[in-house]
């Protein structure tokens, strides 16, 4: 069945049910948020398949629903229409459930999440596609999209399982934590493991991890993230291999500047990916925010001279609340042994985006 028809049917069914059970949820307490964005990229490489060189790209259309069922229990979901989703055509984008979980507030120190959630790793993964929530056009490809840098993903984008999270405050110091356990990236049988990103596993090895952020004062934060699981590799015969990743984060603010830096190292069956970046944001005015980011990726420690570095200089313009224009210039340099999967040598891109959120 056409996915659009399925979604429409489900939406209609939910609507009809809500009419019959109008007292079930106070609709005035349900919150709808979302965002839409449009990107345009020009680069100094030629046209290649699946590249957006010189093309407009309606990347995200997202709807987020926050549904309080009672004071301590709520449902949260984030549905994304990705890449101008039109699933009836080749490369026509996707409809993705980015988050779908039940929240249960036990106390300030302990909250539970049950369902599918973006893996709590580092600064960016939980806002992976939420363009209004970060300053650049894309989140750092190093650490978060190492697969686009010739390496293997450092952790699955999602975790389907249980999260325990909370905040512990000690005087002016805050400690936020998340612990999670969910399906691993392992699988049995044959077929491409690319279809299994922690959606289902062989039940033998669950993935687990944690993130701890310590904020000793209003201006500074230190973070530590860890992921551990087994990863399915191979195409015809699937082999599960150990996979673990450790990441550290530091960020500090003044009234004029923000500095954000992260480092992560992933180990998939003895092959290590390393990623790091530093980003400086200057709060020039309420409307104009320039930024600079330097990214470094070593996608495979068994191959020498295969690093990829990227420098980005950009500007955010907010003419009115909730509307953001982004423009950035990116310079990419790869050493001579970059992975053959990457089609270009050094290149430059000029990226522009406009994002509206509500």
């Amino acid at each position: 069945m056409n996915p659009f028809k399925t979604i429409l049917s489900l939406t209609a069914a939910v609507f009809l049910c809500s009419l019959q059970n109008a007292a079930a949820i106070d609709l005035s307490k349900v919150t709808l948020n979302g965002y839409i964005d449009l990107e345009y990229t020009v680069a100094d490489y030629g046209d290649t398949p699946n590249q957006n060189n010189g093309a407009f790209h309606q990347h995200h259309l997202s709807f987020l629903l926050d549904i309080p069922v009672n004071e301590q229990v709520s449902a949260y979901t984030h549905i994304e229409f990705d890449h101008g989703a039109n699933t009836s055509v080749k490369n026509g984008g996707d409809i993705i459930v980015e988050n779908a979980f039940i929240r249960y507030l036990v106390c300030d120190e302990v909250q539970l999440r049950f369902g599918k959630a973006l893996t709590p790793f580092g600064y960016y993964n939980e806002i992976h596609d939420s363009t209004p929530a970060f300053i650049s056009v894309f989140i750092p490809r190093t650490i978060y999209r190492v697969d686009e840098r010739g390496g293997k993903p450092m952790f699955p984008k999602w975790n389907t399982g249980i999260n325990v999270l909370g905040t512990v405050a000690m005087k002016a110091t805050e400690l936020d934590y998340v612990l999670y356990v969910g399906n691993g990236e392992n699988a049995t049988g044959t077929g491409s493991p690319a279809t299994n990103e922690a959606e289902a596993d062989d039940n033998k090895n669950k993935a687990y991890g944690a993130r701890v952020n310590l904020q000793p004062n209003d201006h500074t934060q230190f973070g530590l993230s860890y992921f551990n699981g087994e990863k399915a590799t191979g195409t015809l015969t699937i082999v599960n291999v150990p996979h673990s990743t450790m990441g550290v984060l530091f960020t500090t603010n003044t009234s004029s500047f923000n500095l954000l830096a992260e480092y992560a190292q992933s180990d998939v069956n003895g092959i290590k990916d390393v990623g790091a970046y530093g980003q400086v944001t200057y709060f020039l005015s309420k409307k104009f925010t320039p930024y600079y980011r330097y990214e470094y990726t070593d996608p495979n420690d068994h191959i020498s001279t295969d690093t990829w570095t990227e420098q980005i200089i950009g500007l955010n313009i907010k003419p009115v609340n909730n509307l953001i224009f982004k423009i950035e210039a990116s310079n990419n340099h790869r050493e001579r042994n970059y992975t053959p999967a990457v089609p270009h040598a050094d290149f430059n891109e000029l990226r522009m985006a406009v994002a509206l959120y509500f």
């Binding site: 926050d66 939980e126 806002i127 405050a169």
Partner: protein, 144 residues
Amino acid sequence: MMAKNIALLLTLIALAAPLPVRAEMAVIVNKDNPLKAMNKADLSLIYFGKKKMFESGDVIVPIDTAPDKPARQDFFANILRKDEESYRLYWVRMIFSGKGQPPLAFKTEEEAVRFVASNKGGIAFVDSSQITGDVKMLHILENE
């Protein structure tokens, strides 16, 4: 002589004119809330969505109000220690990572007072001149 008279007249007018009343920012809760005082750090945690329950177990419903009022400016400067834009961006990040919703926003302090009066978990910051007998003012303590 004329100049002296004018100066005297202006002085008298200045003395007679009522001074602008600058009431203090006050934090209010429901009258049934047993809480009497709260420190600045806890208040800040509430408005950053990190403290969600009172010690009594009631779920906290924080209220944001009246963007142009001095009470709000005081609250942002002295309790949250964030400017308006940073606070807004913080909540954009929280919303899009599924960590909750920002405080309910009312246009006037009167609405905020009425809400707190009728909701046990309500908490708001208003100009102290707006406080009625239907709500209770909290003592704000410095962080230890």
